[in-house]
């Protein structure tokens, strides 16, 4: 067992973990933050994407011990003061989700994308989300959702995404 100290969604935790504990298992099972999902075992699907120190990572391919001292943001930490993040709003408005299983990871990846590139083209959105698989939507409405959020975050008018 190793003791780690991590700040998740603004709250600091001291926890004992096995070295082999995957970050995703730590978040889900020790911290009960079950919004981060597991969809594969080879780092393809992106259902487990969270941010470590502001960068999106696949939490199934990071050991919890490696996150010692880090700031982590999960889907649960995105809405502030009960106010949905523009990406969450965008996914809702544009029907960017169906079963919702990939959605937390998809949103966290889109969040990274918009940090890097606040005005992405459709093509840049599609390529920026290459690390996330969705089986329900065929992605078109996910692209619209990200466009909605980009527009809203850039403050360009009242009818984002149209």
């Amino acid at each position: 067992m190793s003791t780690i100290s991590v700040t998740v969604n603004g709250r600091t935790y001291q926890s004992d973990v096995e070295p082999r504990t995957l970050l995703v298992h730590y978040l889900r099972e020790q911290l009960n933050l079950t919004g981060t999902h597991i969809g594969c075992d080879t780092s393809q699907c992106g259902a487990c994407v969270v941010h470590i120190n502001g960068q999106s990572v696949k939490s199934c391919t990071v050991l919890a011990v490696q996150a010692d001292g880090a700031e982590i943001t999960t889907i649960e930490g995105l809405a502030q003061n009960g106010q949905l993040h523009p990406l969450q709003e965008g996914f809702w408005e544009k029907h960017g989700l169906q079963c919702g299983y990939c959605t937390p990871g998809m949103i966290m990846s889109a969040y990274d994308l918009l940090q890097q590139n606040p005005n992405p083209t459709e093509d840049e959105i599609r390529h920026g989300l290459e690390g996330n698989l969705c089986r329900c939507t065929g992605y078109q409405n996910i692209v619209k959702a990200v466009q909605y959020a980009a527009d809203k975050m850039n403050g360009s008018g009242n009818s984002p995404g149209e």
């Binding site: 393809q44 649960e76 995105l78 809702w92 029907h95 169906q98 698989l133 969705c134």
Partner: protein, 786 residues
């Protein structure tokens, strides 16, 4: 709020979403129970092997391991049932057990179960179990499995044949071919696919020793059916001793309809150990051991005249069913395939023969579209082959042979109930117009001169949704061992809140939203005051579940009818309250009033209050507004449409790029266009994925080579196009709302649009057919060899 806006037809955003976008969903693996233990399964690495012995002693000694069980331990429960013994399965319906004993029939067959304090220990223990396997010869190809000398899987299935089934008219078809002006023959393979819902499958079982009751949380599209199968067939206990709950389900696509070993072994172990037992598949486990889809090898011939009239269709298919029969496997390549093989065309003579075959592979069962994508791919490829053969425009061949609006209801001669309705030409015309068909051929010719290979592919499809009625689909007819009706209960509480319980259960389809839209309109109450409850056998009426695009056409109609019953009762109570004759009462916009006096109305809330407190009810009227309907439709519904793809093939590499994708679908009256388009998008994505990317590949030893997402190419956002959609509306006459179903149409319509486009692009190379997926190498080879 008394004025009610019409909800049906509006693109309402979904009420399901707030919890899903904030990480507050409740999926199976999110559930923790007091004392919960974790299961892991040891799976056979061999595709066919005799199991001489299993030594679990070392694994049992690992600290944290609670117990280890093998197939022999679980002989007190029965094998899983096959519920749809279509296709004349005769005494050889070999189904899996909770754990296999003595023999493993595919790589991934479960043979031992570890239960441990946590999933890490459970996994570690698997490596300590020692098994003495005796490998046996393997066969993975459905056609080869039927040949002399092939390895045999089941003693009761000589030549591995589970069933031989046919439909249509053999003699008439043979005659049509012998007198045909033109015939075209092809071998068409519909490759094996792995459904890949983003959430894998699993089960969490709890047993209450005091009451003898089980509760199982499961990733299921049909918990009521699972309850029935697990109690009556597997455990032999009263149905009431099991409660099945589907929490949020992370996509199904067919794979989560079925009764699986994990449901049985978690229940068995929970009872044995007195602790809850959870099992959740890894992705690679899901790939090896949950059901796959498609996997047909088909010899197909089409006959016609030189001027483009199709006169005959003859099909022989070898359908790979895998090592055992999954729950509804035999129905997929028969009822849902052969009977719709003639598609949107009037074909006077058609015949389809299907061999259902056991092989040393994972079980094959319904995957989105289930039989219908295989059928529509076949006919739409052959229509293109025929058009090319006679040098006619493929759009015109389609137009010339379409079933005409005046032909409905239309009997296609394949043993299906009559197509309920259709009007195929407007959808074709609209799609052709959207894609700019008139100009495309010039553009294509110009592009070819510059060494660019453009191709356009048309797919005009029809499918079967809301499969019913029970009297047809059931044992007397198609072999489905139950009914296919659906249920809805509606209660108007004292406060005017409306609670609906339904046997349908959504796992992404937006049923909570669309059902509430229907109730709000029909009952004239605010959308916000309608609650839709589902997915728990405690508290919902029996229902057959959500698959086959049936929730709206069947479940939604049950709901619609329950609403009508509530209104009738409300009118009686209102008449009493208004001291009027019930026959004079009208119900509109949530109010009941005497005809001509809407100002003297009683609102539904007032009526519900009266019905609940029951101080003063008319003679013979029971308290409370509470009505249930079990709706068994008189027929299926038949959505249709035309999809057109334009692709460009890289002449040097064979890589295919999709330039345009147009779809015009007719799913009947739309309830929520936003949700319909979402269903179509996702469906099309899965069809494109079949055409270009996905392939479940076994090697000759029965190892699943495409065993992880590193080798099975589920497309990401950059691999799929924008979908340009439009619709025509031909209301179904089968149900009062005129709805049909939209969940599978996209998948059924799309793969052949892409493949026809790829093959059209390759016309300068003389390519006439190409098997799916059209990978860069496969396309490149086609260009090299011509």
């Amino acid at each position: 709020m008394t004025t009610v806006t019409k909800m049906v037809g509006q693109s309402l955003k979904r009420r399901e979403d707030p919890k899903l976008i904030t990480g507050k969903g409740n999926f199976l693996d999110d559930i923790k129970l007091q004392g919960m233990s974790h299961a892991a399964i040891l799976r056979s690495p061999y595709a066919h092997a005799k199991i001489n012995s299993i030594d679990t002693s070392k694994a049992k000694a690992l600290p944290g391991v609670i117990a280890i069980f093998t197939g022999d331990d679980m002989m007190d429960i029965n094998p899983l049932p096959c519920a749809w013994q279509a296709g004349r399965v005769q005494n050889n319906a070999n189904t899996p057990r909770a754990l296999s004993a003595g023999k493993a029939l595919y790589a991934g067959d479960g043979i031992a179960m570890v239960v441990a304090e946590n999933r890490y220990i459970a996994r570690d223990a698997l490596d300590l179990i020692e098994v003495d396997y005796e490998p046996l010869p393997v066969v993975v190809d459905a056609k080869k499995a039927t040949e002399a000398g092939a390895p045999q899987l089941h003693e009761n299935a000589p030549n591995n044949i589970c069933m031989t089934w046919d439909c249509g008219h053999k003699d008439a078809t043979d005659a049509a071919f012998s007198s045909a002006e033109v015939t075209v023959k092809e071998q068409i393979i519909n490759q094996r696919l792995i459904p890949t819902p983003m959430e894998t499958r699993g089960a969490l079982a709890r047993y209450d020793e005091a009451t003898g009751e089980f509760t199982v949380w499961m990733t299921s599209q049909a918990p009521h059916v699972m309850r029935l199968l697990l109690t009556a067939f597997v455990f032999g206990i009263p149905e009431t001793k099991l409660r099945c709950i589907s929490p949020n389900v992370g996509g199904g696509f067919g794979q989560k309809i079925f009764c699986y070993a994990d449901m049985a072994f978690t229940m068995w172990a929970a009872r044995k150990l007195g602790r809850p037992v959870k099992f959740v598949e890894d992705r690679s486990e899901n790939y090896r051991s949950s059901t796959h889809g498609r996997d047909h090898i088909t010899d197909v011939e089409i006959a016609g005249t030189k001027d483009g009239t199709i006169t005959g269709l003859r099909i022989e298919t070898w359908a790979n069913l895998g090592a055992y029969l999954s729950t509804i496997a035999p129905g997929i390549p028969t009822t849902l395939y052969g009977r719709i093989a003639t598609g949107v065309y009037k074909i006077p003579a058609a015949y389809c023969k299907v061999h259902g075959v056991y092989t040393n592979t994972a079980m094959v069962d319904a995957y989105r579209g289930a039989g219908r994508p295989e059928a529509s791919y076949l006919i739409e490829r052959m229509v293109d082959r025929f058009a090319a053969e006679i040098g006619m425009d493929p759009a015109e061949v389609r137009r010339k042979n379409f079933i005409q609006p005046s032909d409905f209801p239309y009997d296609n001669g394949m043993g299906l109930l009559p197509y309920d309705s259709g009007n195929y030409e407007p959808a074709l015309d609209r799609a052709l117009a959207m894609v700019g068909y008139a100009d495309f051929r010039n553009e294509q010719a110009e592009a070819r001169k510059q060494g660019k290979y453009l191709g356009l592919g048309i797919s005009s499809y029809v499918e079967i949704c809301g499969v019913a009625p029970s009297a047809w689909i059931g044992l007397p007819g198609e072999g489905w061992g139950a009914g296919l009706w659906e249920s809805a209960n509606i209660r108007v509480h004292l406060t005017g809140q409306v609670v609906v319980t339904t046997g349908s259960l959504p796992h992404g389809q937006g049923v909570e939203t669309t059902f509430a839209q229907i109730v709000a309109d029909e009952l004239g109450v605010p959308y916000e005051s309608v609650l839709i409850e589902h997915s728990d056998t405690a508290g919902t009426p029996f229902g057959y579940g959500t698959y086959g695009s049936r929730s709206l056409a069947v479940g939604g109609t049950a709901l619609y009818k329950s609403v009508a019953k509530v209104k009738e009762k409300a009118k009686k109570i209102a008449a009493h309250m208004l001291e009027a004759n019930p026959a004079d009462i009208e119900y509109a916009d949530g109010k009941a009033y005497v005809k001509g006096s809407p100002d003297q109305a009683k609102t539904l809330g007032e009526i519900a209050l009266q019905a609940s407190v029951a101080y003063s009810l008319p003679e013979g009227v029971e308290p409370f507004l509470d009505e249930t309907t079990y709706y068994d439709p008189p027929n299926c519904t038949f959505p249709f449409g035309t999809h057109i793809a334009i692709v460009e093939v890289d002449g040097a590499t064979g890589m295919v790029a999709i330039k345009r994708y147009v779809g015009v679908d007719d799913v009947g009256n739309p309830i929520n266009p936003l949700i319909i388009d979402g269903q179509l998008h996702g469906g099309i994505a899965q069809g494109i994925a079949q055409a270009l990317y996905e392939h479940g590949v076994y090697d000759e030893n029965g190892q699943l080579v495409s065993g992880t997402l590193m080798d099975y190419a589920v497309p990401n956002a950059a691999m799929l196009p924008n979908y340009e959609l439009d619709r025509t509306v031909t209301p179904s006459p089968v149900n009062p709302m005129g709805v049909k179903g939209a969940g599978e149409a996209g998948t059924i319509g799309s793969a052949q649009a892409i493949m026809n486009a790829v093959i059209d692009a390759l016309a300068p190379f003389g390519v006439k057919h190409l098997q799916m997926p059209a990978t860069a190498e496969r396309v490149w080879r086609a260009m090299q060899s011509h």
